[in-house]
């Protein structure tokens, strides 16, 4: 899909990268510094330094209320940060409106799936394409100005529907689809923008277990195609199979980073998920 130049798929576990919060990556695509967001007296997000490796799947995990989605919203321009700077391939993004962030190559999906119910699946897909002539008012009045491009977009959309096993739903209203199909449609639609980075907010939420595996497969395939995938999840087990790197947040901060195996043994993470009292008990038991 994107990446005209050949890319190097990041290796699992990012060998050579220190497993500590704020560690430097060899090829960072998205870098955040001192990003903070307060809601009244509550600090929702306070991230000192965080780098995301290009062409890797990074899982952003943490218990409920850790600030994962808020961080997503800040990075994609859906919420306004109180402080901080972040950049995509060294292009500063702080203060850039959300629709521009998407055009710059960083596209997101939502935890509560936003399939556009009264549009057909194919219309949902075609909406995703950027730089459409027919989306300008005066050009829209003259079909000759956009028909050719529309055919090209439709071809691309059909190919993606095929890939995400949605081709049979092509002309159905998105509102008639199942929860899992909507997740797939939203992901496929995001790909229509030809992004560099795709940010998935809880892609597995509300999806039945049978579909989870196929969804994970699709996410893996995105990275194999050269995309950088960042996704939010609160269940640690789900991310085991696919994440190259795991970032753990709690109470708005990044408390740990590392390959999945290292994260599972990290005391700070166990504390965050289960409480420090529990950790002490299990150690005494010799477990």
């Amino acid at each position: 899909m994107p990446a005209e130049a050949p890319f190097v798929r990041a290796q699992r576990g990012l060998p050579g990268v220190a497993a500590e919060p704020g560690s430097a990556k060899p090829d960072p695509i998205l870098v955040a510094d001192n990003v903070a967001r307060h809601f009244g007296g509550i600090t929702a997000v306070d991230v000192e330094h965080l780098e995301f490796q290009a062409h890797a799947i990074t899982a952003l995990i943490g218990p409920n209320g850790a600030g994962k989605t808020t961080l997503f919203n800040l990075l994609t321009g859906f919420d306004t940060a109180d402080d901080g700077a972040w950049s995509l391939r060294e292009r500063p993004l702080a203060g850039v409106p959300s629709y521009r962030v998407a055009r710059l190559g960083m596209v997101r999906t939502f935890q509560l799936t936003k399939a556009l119910s009264k549009l057909t699946a194919i219309d949902n897909m075609k909406l995703g394409a950027t730089g459409q002539h027919g989306e300008r008012f005066f050009d829209a009045l003259l079909p000759a100005r956009w028909k050719a491009q529309e055919r090209e977009i439709e071809r691309r959309a059909d190919a993606l529907l095929e890939r995400f096993n949605l081709a049979h739903m092509r002309d159905e209203f998105a509102g008639t689809m199942s929860g899992g199909q909507r997740k797939l449609l939203e992901m496929a639609r995001a790909l229509m923008t030809e992004p560099e980075v795709i940010m998935l907010d809880e892609p597995m939420a509300g999806v039945n277990p049978a579909l989870t595996q196929s969804l994970l497969g699709h996410i893996k395939a995105l990275a194999d195609d050269g995309l950088t995938v960042i996704f939010v999840e609160h269940d640690m087990d789900v991310v085991r199979d696919i994440s190259d790197w795991v970032v753990v947040m709690a109470e708005g901060r990044v408390i740990a980073e590392g390959p999945h195996d290292a994260i599972g043994r990290n005391d700070a993470v166990i504390d965050a998920y289960l409480g420090s009292q529990h950790a002490a008990l299990t150690t005494e038991d010799g477990a």
Binding site: F78, S98, A102, F110, L116, L119, D123, L127, G134, L141
Partner: protein
């Protein structure tokens, strides 16, 4: 009761000047509300801008008529910007509140006594501004159209005729409806229309796909308002004068009624809706008056002066029944409506 007369009068109303005015107003609302999901409750404000623009530019400034038309369209874009800039970033309700108030503000300013020389105050603008419009008309204003020798072969129920003046307003008005509807049809099936329909469903999703939602909503408000301004031109030309109190909020709601009756987010919705609305209003009026004249309704139940109110009760009841049994309107798609409930 002369049923031929009842039906003829009703058909005349269905194609008459009121139907064409409300049809244009409803087409504008259809773009804003039906396709984009914007609640513009101040369509009458755009109509007032159009009517007063042609009225004042001819009556007060003695400019050619087409300058008034251009000023009206330009001012309706300005009005859309004024309404949209502060509200379109906020939730949908805010636009509704601001537009309904703005419609009233425009009416109250135009009827202010201090502006009497300029806008005519509460007495309104006399109809001098209409002369250049009717100078263009090929029809004799006192004659009746179409002439009976042209339609004599039709059943008597369809011997519709209008004054030369009304007929000219209708010709121009329905032509505008045709042109505007064709342009809308073209726009809605274009990628531009797809973005609007998507905004109606979920604007955050559209923003996440790199579209400038705010600007699209603004375009929808401006174009819909411009169509409302066309309705205002026709309103000014059809009536003998521009009366400020003809531009009350009720006008907006009648236009919404026509739209919902025909079916929102359908090109022919507002057209058929406006025709049916005015047919039903004229029909119930004629039937009630006829029944009264025949003595079928006793004075205890309703006296002759109450016909006007009772007919709107009947129209309202009919609308309620329609919304209960056919909530999608006449042309709406029940399947689409059912998706909301999921």
């Amino acid at each position: 009761m002369d049923w031929n007369l009842v039906l003829r009068t009703s058909f005349e109303a269905a194609f008459g000047v009121d139907a064409v005015i409300y049809c244009l107003a409803a087409i504008g609302i259809n773009l804003q509300f039906g396709y984009t999901g914007l609640l513009n409750f101040g369509q009458v404000g755009f109509m007032a801008v159009g009517a007063y623009s042609v009225g004042i530019s001819v009556n007060y400034y003695h400019w050619p008529w087409w300058i008034g038309i251009l000023i009206g369209l330009a001012l309706s874009v300005v009005l859309a910007l004024l309404l949209g800039v502060p509200t379109l970033r906020l939730r949908a309700d805010y636009l509704a509140i601001v537009t309904i108030a703005t419609g009233e503000i425009i009416r109250l300013i135009m009827r202010a006594a201090v502006l009497a020389d300029f806008s005519g105050g509460s007495a309104g603008l006399p109809g001098d501004y209409r002369r250049p419009f009717f100078d263009l008309s090929p029809f004799d204003p006192t004659g009746e159209f179409p002439r009976n020798n042209l339609i004599g072969w039709l059943p008597r129920t369809l011997w519709l005729d209008w004054s030369g003046q009304d007929f000219w307003v209708m010709i121009v008005g329905w032509s505008l409806v045709g042109i505007v509807s064709f342009a809308m049809w073209q726009l809605i099936r274009s990628p531009w229309g797809r973005v609007l329909r998507a905004i109606r469903e979920d604007e955050e999703a559209v923003r996440a796909l790199g579209k400038n939602v705010y600007w699209y909503k603004m375009q929808s408000l401006m174009i819909g308002g411009g169509i409302g301004c066309l309705a205002g031109f026709m309103f000014a030309y059809a009536k003998g004068s521009v009366q400020p109190d003809n531009y009350s909020t009720a006008v907006t709601f009648f236009a919404y009624t026509a739209l919902i009756l025909g079916g929102t987010a359908k090109i022919k919705g507002p057209i058929v809706g406006a025709m049916i609305l005015w047919f039903v209003i004229a029909f119930s009026n004629q039937v009630l008056r006829g029944a009264k004249a025949e003595g079928w309704i006793s004075d205890n139940l309703m006296d002759g002066t109450q016909v006007g109110q009772v007919r709107f009760m009947i129209v309202g009841l009919g609308l309620m029944l329609l919304l209960i049994f056919r909530p999608q309107g006449i042309f709406g798609d029940k399947k689409e409506l059912a998706l909301d409930a999921r």
